[in-house]
């Protein structure tokens, strides 16, 4: 405000002087003010406007777009888009372009265009050299980026194998991990917690490694097993279980923002499950993590030893395309960049724990990631085709490589389809060639004789004058409409059906052909798939029953906009609109029956079709029916969601402030400089550079990748990572609590061939992992957040474990692995419900229909990378457990199972219930509570229904903290 007052008052001073000192001076002042080359002109005409309209956002308070307009150096240096003014050249000055409001992307001031007079003043001022006395306030220069300084941050330094720290208590550690942990504890005068009890250990380990509870038998066997290697054998058994991949694969799916649909319109990603199965298999087969990384980024480009490997590698790249993208974005340049941005954000956070996305619009504010690096990476992914663009763009479904025999079978089938298609085409051509003006069906067809929904021209909404006619004696309903071959571009006729159900329909237009008709009638179908225009040649006879031509098959929604517009824009003859028919695709076969079979109202002078053309039409119908069968019964080519190299590389510019329409300098492809050790790789001229990107990510010289993964594993097993921000190793993330331990694990992980099972084994065999959750009061107060791992963390069962454990108790859990699980024929995910009782990892992850249990119990948001799930304790969870039918039904199943067991008495049955559900026998007080509950209910006359009583008891056990938590 100060500045504003000062500048305004200066303007006032000039004016006041002019008034006070008489005519001569005033005239001089006026002359100067009128001369745009003078400072006075600037002071009178330009500065007040800048103060009033520009300083707020381009001054000392805010510097939007990096531009300051409160000094000459400010506009000389300019903002992100370059200099704001070119003195003497108004037409090259961005500021003037903005003021003129010519470019929709660049309009200033944002709340409305200034008057023409003001803009003219600016033009004159710039043309005359843009005199501006404001030399003060030079715009701050951007600091120079210093790579060496940037690498000071711990995570950008290469991990080094640390020396093992000395510890006082030599007996506690079983290996290096424990020494690192104990050393920190001893440094704080703390002791680790005691080892957890056996029944606690097996429950913890079984959930951690397989996501399932131990069975009562497994539990009993382990508790009884007194051999010294009982625990080690348990670990090996669980690591070898196929459920290991399901549990750990699901962890990775959180990171990969895995989902099987897009929020937009609930589109189903029908092949996404292949990626899920790939992940489960990779963890089960203990594929090297560096290999997994390479396959995720460039699997389709890597050499493969065999077909399975080739398939697998291609499927891995689905990872790149799982983003929850808004494919409806109409600006496709923007959409392409949005996809690249999402890919960078996800691979950055998943593999590197870096927030690369911040650098899309400006150099990263906190981390050493310049915008240049962002566009160097973007240059790689921008040269990879991710989508086919349309009104609503589409991801790529690429053929999955197949075994030779299967490929042959498919090719034979595809050849058969192609042959038949050719025959159909030939038959159609023959029909057309007969140039039969006479229809093959009845000349006049009543609307109610036709299948599907028919909108006659009389019901259609007309714009402009449409002549109703029955001149050509062959039509649907009450005659047809034509545009009189007049007022081209001014007339439309809209057919708006009332469709009885959502679904796919074949849309057909009826017209009466003739030589004076237009050959280029634009017919636009609006459907849930968007807007498509078909050009119809109305000089040719309509191929279907002599009335209709098909416009294609489209998806319609019940309340959606489904309609057909026939226009006459730029048409070269009469435009005819007789009727539009919408036939549900299921009814097409029926509709294909010759119309002649149906009773039809005919006009006396209507011509009948001649035999030859009727036969030809009949043959065509036969062929089409055969085709339908062939397609329905034949093998389907399996596809995979992937990306495509298109070989023609384009250069990528910096997008100033992230805008696709404001391009800065070209940036060569490359990686993050701060995490790039050794010489920059040569990127191929004929490929995007994904292989090199993958190599850089998975290189031992990448300071981040191994660290990030071992930290994730630690987080999944200990409830919190050594770095507690597992997706952010930048300067805004946390520092490691045990940096040497993190380095030790990273180095060893790489040396053990990036083996995930090796890593998990090391961690769970440590005494650090095997601690009890109980610690001394002193420990609790000295290490309240358990940053030193002075005890085990009590953890709640995640949504999937909760569901799987309930199903395991009720005996309803189905354990078959893999494969697609979305019901066939599902076209959108709205309202999708799963009743299947397979493991939770196979419950389709549909972004508009996340199962309620998952939603209530903090399932990972499948649109973003989630290395650490939220953990909330809120009433909706309690409400779910108390009232959702799923819990109650499974409690009933469980109760039935318990009641079917032969037990000496109800006390024994309660014991069995506790062992089944909580993995331990009841304590005395708990036994008493159960007996009291059963007795009280019995006293109220509920005893007759034991099943109901036991259902309530089991239901309560499902809700108890010992079920919902792992110690």
């Amino acid at each position: 405000m100060l500045r504003l007052d000062m500048h305004l008052s200066r303007g006032v001073v000039v004016l006041a002087l002019g008034l006070a000192t008489g005519l001569g001076f005033s005239r001089l002042a006026e002359a100067q003010v009128a001369d745009p080359a003078t400072v006075d002109f600037f002071e009178a005409k330009i500065r007040p406007v800048l103060v009033q309209h520009c300083y707020e956002c381009h001054g000392p308070e805010e510097t939007n777009g990096g531009l300051r307009l409160d000094s000459r150096p400010g506009w000389e240096q300019g903002g992100d888009s370059g200099p704001a003014l070119v003195a003497g050249k108004p037409d090259e000055s961005l500021l003037l372009a903005a003021l003129r409001y010519d470019d929709p992307e660049l309009q200033m001031p944002p709340d409305g265009k200034l008057s023409a007079a003001i803009i003219a003043d600016f033009e004159r001022w710039v043309a005359a050299g843009a005199a501006d006395p404001r030399d003060a306030n030079p715009a701050p220069r951007k600091p120079v980026w210093d790579l060496a300084a940037a690498r000071q941050h711990w995570s950008y330094q290469l991990p080094k194998r640390p020396d093992l720290p000395p510890v006082v208590d030599q007996t506690w550690p079983t290996g290096p991990i424990d020494r690192f942990v104990l050393s920190r504890l001893e440094g704080s005068q703390l002791r680790p917690a005691a080892e957890a009890e056996r029944e606690v250990l097996i429950r913890r380990l079984t959930f951690d490694l397989t996501g399932l509870p131990p069975t009562a038998e497994e539990l009993a066997a382990f508790v009884r097993d007194e051999s010294p290697d009982a625990y080690e054998r348990l670990v090996e058994r669980l690591l070898a279980s196929p459920h290991f991949g399901e549990r750990w694969g699901r962890h990775w799916l959180d990171v990969a923002r895995y989902a099987e649909s897009l929020t937009l319109r609930g589109f189903i990603l029908g092949d996404a499950w292949r990626y899920r199965d790939y992940v489960v298999e990779a963890f089960n087969q203990d594929r090297s993590f560096d290999r997994i990384v390479r396959e995720h980024i460039a699997g389709d480009l890597l050499p493969a030893d065999d077909l399975h490997e080739r398939q697998r590698q291609m499927i891995a790249t689905t990872f790149l395309m799982l983003g929850n993208t808004n494919l409806e974005e109409q600006d496709k340049a923007q959409l392409q960049m949005d996809v690249v941005d999402e890919q960078l954000e996800v691979l950055g956070r998943a593999f590197l724990a870096q927030t690369i996305g911040c650098a899309r619009c400006h150099d990263h504010k906190f981390d050493p990631i310049p915008t240049r690096d962002y566009y160097a990476l973007a240059g790689i992914l921008k040269n990879v085709q991710a989508l086919e663009h349309a009104n609503v763009s589409k991801w790529l479904e690429m053929p999955l490589p197949l075994p030779a025999a299967e490929e042959e079978r498919l090719q034979a089938h595809e050849q058969a389809v192609a042959n038949l298609e050719a025959k159909i085409k030939a038959q159609k051509a023959r029909l057309t060639a007969q140039k039969q003006p006479t229809p093959t069906g009845p000349a006049v067809v009543a609307v109610d004789q036709l299948p599907g929904i028919v909108v006659d021209d009389t019901q259609a909404k007309k714009v402009g004058e449409w002549q109703l006619s029955q001149f050509t004696k062959s039509f649907v309903g009450d005659g047809y409409a034509h545009d009189q071959n007049q007022d081209k571009g001014r007339k439309t006729i809209t057919f708006l059906p009332e469709l009885p159900a959502a679904g796919k329909y074949e849309v057909r237009l009826a017209y009466t052909p003739g030589t004076n008709r237009a050959t280029n009638v634009p017919v636009t179908v609006f459907s849930a798939d968007g807007e498509f225009t078909v050009n119809v040649n109305q000089q040719l006879p309509p191929p279907l029953d002599g009335h209709f031509v098909t416009l294609g098959q489209y998806r319609f929604e019940l309340n959606g906009q489904g309609f057909v517009i026939v226009g006459n824009d730029a048409t070269d003859g009469h435009v005819i609109a007789d009727a539009v028919q919408f036939i549900p695709v299921e009814q097409l076969a029926q509709a294909a029956k010759p119309a002649a079979e149906k009773p039809a109202k005919t006009y006396a002078n209507a011509k009948t079709a001649d035999d030859a053309s009727e036969r030809a039409a009949e043959e065509l119908k036969q062929l089409e029916a055969t085709m339908k069968q062939l397609v329905a019964k034949g093998p389907k080519r399996p596809t995979v969601i992937s990306v495509r190299e298109h070989g023609k590389l384009t250069e990528t510019n910096v997008h100033i402030r992230g805008s696709v329409h404001n391009l800065g300098p070209v940036v060569p492809r490359g990686f993050l400089q701060v995490a790039q050790y050794g010489p920059a790789p040569e990127l191929p001229a004929d490929q995007s550079g994904r292989i090199e990107l993958a190599d850089w990510l998975a290189a031992p010289q990448n300071p981040l990748t191994a660290r990030v993964f071992v930290n994730r594993a630690w987080h999944w097993l200990f409830g919190a990572g050594l770095v507690r921000t597992p997706d952010n190793f930048g300067t805004t993330g946390e520092s490691p609590s045990h940096p040497e331990l993190l380095d030790y694990l990273a180095v060893e992980f790489m040396e053990h061939d990036w083996s995930i099972k090796w890593l998990v084994r090391e961690l769970v065999l440590s005494r650090s992992y095997r601690q009890s959750t109980a610690a001394s009061a002193a420990t609790n107060s000295a290490d309240p957040d358990n940053r030193l791992f002075s005890r085990a963390e009590r953890r709640r069962l995640e949504a999937e474990c909760l569901r799987d454990a309930i199903l395991a108790c009720s005996g309803q859990l189905r354990r078959e692995m893999g494969g697609p699980t979305i019901r066939p024929g599902t076209s959108s995910d709205y309202g999708y419900q799963t009743t299947d009782t397979r493991r939770s990892v196979y419950v389709p992850v549909l972004r508009n229909s996340i199962p309620e249990l998952f939603e209530a119990f903090d399932f990972a948001d499948p649109s973003v990378v989630t290395g650490s799930r939220n953990t909330s304790t809120v009433a909706p969870q309690a409400l779910y457990i108390m009232n959702h039918p799923f819990v109650r039904e499974q409690a009933r199943e469980t109760a039935r199972g318990l009641l079917a067991r032969s037990c000496a008495d109800e006390r024994e049955r309660v014991e069995q219930a506790f062992e089944l559900i909580l993995g331990r026998p009841p304590r005395a007080a708990e036994q008493q509570l159960c007996q009291d509950f059963l007795a009280a209910a019995a006293a109220e006359g509920n005893a007759q229904n034991r099943e109901e009583l036991w259902t309530q008891l089991v239901h309560a056990l499902f809700g108890s903290v010992d079920f919902r938590y792992v110690e």
Binding site: N64, G567, T873, E926
Partner: protein, 498 residues
């Protein structure tokens, strides 16, 4: 209000308190002493707010989620958003452009937003289409309203019109997300989540943000989602678009009567206390026990809040209950009033459906607008009258509008209008906005905002301001940076404020 910044040396337990900063936090962050994770985990919360506020003062200072203190005195304590999904036509309702009648049928060049986005082509030729409903002046302020909304027209002296809105996204998906979350494509928290994050709620037995009948389409749950904010800020959906209004999920038990279920719950709680007793004190487990009690209280109370049968026959009739055309939306509007009256901070009522071309999306057959207008006009007018009569309008912000407007010309020369994000009208009422006021203008045809333009970011900023929140300071640290509802944009339009 304070923000806590963690020092690089995590174990030294240093906390720097920076005064006068917006609530901000690190998604995965923890704080020494009492961790944010532990805080969220350990706080037994109905829907998660008051329990946090009930923590010790120091803990509250350290925890952004527990600091529901506005940045400055609010003019509105709560808000109701009446979402007209699909984009109602402003030139047929509230933005009177007489020239459209005069030039009806003429071909004229316009910068059509869709054609511009698809092809970059400007000045494409389109046929002017006059408004289908005659306009007349209403109220003391003499505002022009068409016959589409005869009942809302009775309330123009309470309404504050913004005629110069413009937004981003030409298609429903992007524009709907932009309206709700301030971004066309990226995963961002919705406005209601931001508001509850900033202000908390007044009733722990109810969620702070309720979305009545949300659409599954065009962003679906993202439009009431918390994105990277803690999940307690998520909007609670009640029912879905196109279906009759229902109630909160899982607040009734389909099998057990109240006495039996209470006995079962007592048994469960006794087991829980027994199990917790066996361990060292753990506030998280206590929180679980408390969550069951809170759940029970909600189960006993929450359904009543949505039970409109408790309203008088006159009130029900005023909202149009019982009349087929207005019953559904009237019921939802009445629920909205009952919710805000009970302390819910942000209520959205959607008039729409889950199709790709929802409700007001009249690409053809513009007269269908009349059906939609009939369904919403009376309930909205009744809501305004009801809020006013109860003294609630003073501190309740009501917001009406769609994700964009419609073109003043016919689409593809047909019988409807295409989307128009370049200029359209919304109105506000109540809590701190000028009544009987109109701001900004589109060009003479009603196509593009030209005077006192208000971008959707600006409207967001202004509404946050009315609720006592500074859009520049309502930030959340996620993935390495501070996010805002208004991204790096937005201006408070002070001219709209009383």
């Amino acid at each position: 209000m304070t923000r806590t910044v963690r020092t690089p040396d995590e174990t030294s337990s240093k906390i720097n308190e920076i005064p006068d900063m917006a609530p901000s936090s690190e998604h995965e962050a923890s704080l020494p002493g009492i961790s944010r994770r532990a805080m969220l985990r350990n706080s037994a919360c109905g829907f998660g707010y008051l329990a946090l506020a009930g923590l010790t003062a120091s803990a509250r200072g350290a925890n952004p989620a527990a600091a529901p203190v506005p940045h400055f005195p609010p003019r509105a304590k709560r808000a109701i958003f009446l979402f007209m999904q699909g984009g109602p036509s402003h030139v047929d309702s509230f933005d009177y452009k007489p020239i459209l009648d005069q030039e009806d049928g003429k071909m004229m060049p316009f910068d059509d937003a869709r054609i511009l986005a698809n092809t970059g082509m400007r000045a494409s030729s389109h046929r002017i289409m006059k408004p289908l409903w005659p306009f007349a002046q209403h109220g003391d302020c003499g505002r022009w309203v068409s016959e589409l909304f005869p009942q809302m027209a009775q309330h123009v002296d309470d309404l504050c019109f913004v005629h110069s809105l413009h937004t981003e996204g030409v298609a429903h998906g992007p524009a709907t997300l932009f309206l709700h979350c301030g971004s066309t494509n990226f995963i961002r928290p919705s406005m209601g989540s931001w508001i509850v994050y900033g202000l908390g709620t007044e009733n722990e037995n109810l969620p702070g943000f309720v979305s009545l009948g949300p659409s599954a389409g065009n962003g679906g749950p993202r439009n009431y989602g918390n994105a990277f904010l803690p999940s307690i800020y998520q909007g609670t959906a009640v029912g879905k678009a196109g279906e009759p209004a229902s109630t909160f999920r899982n607040v009734t038990n389909g099998t057990l009567d109240v006495a039996t279920q209470r006995r079962q719950l007592d048994f469960l709680q006794a087991l829980n206390r027994e199990q917790v007793k066996a361990r060292a004190e753990d506030s998280e487990l206590e929180a679980v026990i408390n969550s069951y009690e809170l759940a029970w209280r909600m189960q006993m109370n929450a359904p009543d809040v949505l039970d409109v049968s408790r309203e008088s026959a006159e009130t029900q009739q005023a909202y149009g209950l019982g009349d087929k055309a207005t019953d559904d939306f009237g019921r939802k509007c009445l629920m909205a009033r009952r919710l805000v009256e009970s302390g819910v901070r942000y209520v959205q009522v959607t008039y729409g459906d889950s199709s790709a071309n929802p409700a007001w999306d009249q690409h053809s057959n513009l007269p269908k607008h009349a059906d939609h207008a009939r369904a919403v006009d009376r309930p909205v007018a009744a809501l305004l009258a009801d809020l006013k009569q109860r003294g609630l309008l003073e501190d309740t912000l009501v917001w009406w509008g769609g994700e964009f407007g419609r073109t003043p010309y016919a689409q593809s020369n047909g019988t409807g209008r295409d989307h128009n994000p370049s200029g359209f009208t919304m109105w506000l009422a109540g809590g701190g906005v000028k009544p009987g006021f109109a701001y900004g203008a589109t060009d003479e045809f009603g196509h593009t905002a030209v005077e006192n333009k208000v971008h959707m970011h600006d409207l967001h900023a202004t509404m946050l301001h009315l609720l006592g929140l500074d859009h520049l300071r309502l930030t959340y640290r996620y993935a390495g940076r501070d996010f805002r509802l208004t991204d790096v944009h937005g201006r408070v339009i002070h001219d709209l404020l009383v």
